[in-house]
């Protein structure tokens, strides 16, 4: 039964290649997108740290995005 499932009555090579191509491409794109997102989040945090205390507080007060990125970084760390 397992052999039948793997060989797919002679079409296994084509079926498994198709599903593998889809899974490998999708996982690669997902990881690349996630890495880019993390990179920009980290760069944003670096820029935020460069600000003076006053500017940083103002940025955090006015921007929910800044607050959320900072909160997410604390969660990860």
């Amino acid at each position: 039964m397992i052999t039948e499932f793997i060989t797919m009555n002679g079409y296994g090579l084509y079926v498994w290649s198709s599903f593998s191509a889809v899974i490998i491409s999708c996982v690669t794109v997902y990881l690349k997108t996630k890495r880019t997102l993390r990179k920009y989040e980290n760069e944003f945090l670096v820029e935020l740290q460069k600000l003076s205390v006053e500017e940083k507080n103002k940025a955090l007060e006015n921007s929910k995005v800044a607050q959320q990125i900072l909160a997410a970084s604390y969660k990860i760390n």
């Binding site: 084509y14 198709s18 997902y30 929910k64 959320q68």
Partner: protein, 235 residues
Amino acid sequence: MFKFFSSSNIYSLIQKLINFINSIFFLILIIGLTFALILSPPDYIQGDSVRIMYVHVPAAWLGLACFSFITLLSIFNFIFKIRNFYFINKSIAPIGLLFTCLAIITGSLWGQPTWGTWWAWDARLTSMLVLMLFYVIYILVFKLLNKEELIVKVSSIIAIIGSINLPIIKYSVEWWATLHQPASIKISGSSSIHSAMLLPLLTMTLVFLLYGALIFLMKYKTEIIRIKKKNIKRI
């Protein structure tokens, strides 16, 4: 109303949507794969090679849907100059390219056992290849040009020209004698696909849709952070 569409609110919503998709994605993926690879019956002519349909068709549908959406937003952006549409299009294009490439690759893998060839300059296959080239050119515009205004103009023109290809893809199997089979699923009129195959196909389409939405949201979130980073001192 406009306050709701502020980048802060959109950012929070994106995060919630990403969490939601992450929580249901693997369950639907496992259901879809179980149906596609185990439970669905083999075709009476094509045998088990028909299982390639469960990745080929959703990829092709979404490749077309992404370009249609890009065209629509490009037209709106051209008229109403809404900056958000520019970022949405920039985030969708790579997903559309991925799905179109996957449709071509899996179609080629399906073509070999079914037609006896990996590729033929058939109307449907060629028009899908043209769509892929339009995606490549569209993405290159964002990579190669610097001025946002110029990018909006050039990319919109490319999207509008490329959209001429969309009905050609759709009706190529009816207008010309092609190797590719006509559509089995019709929005209007009766579909010729059995429910035992339709259900896995729709489940796998949902999987592809969720995956596409997840990548789009992550890319769109990256764009918001990129803009915020650029204007950090003006926050």
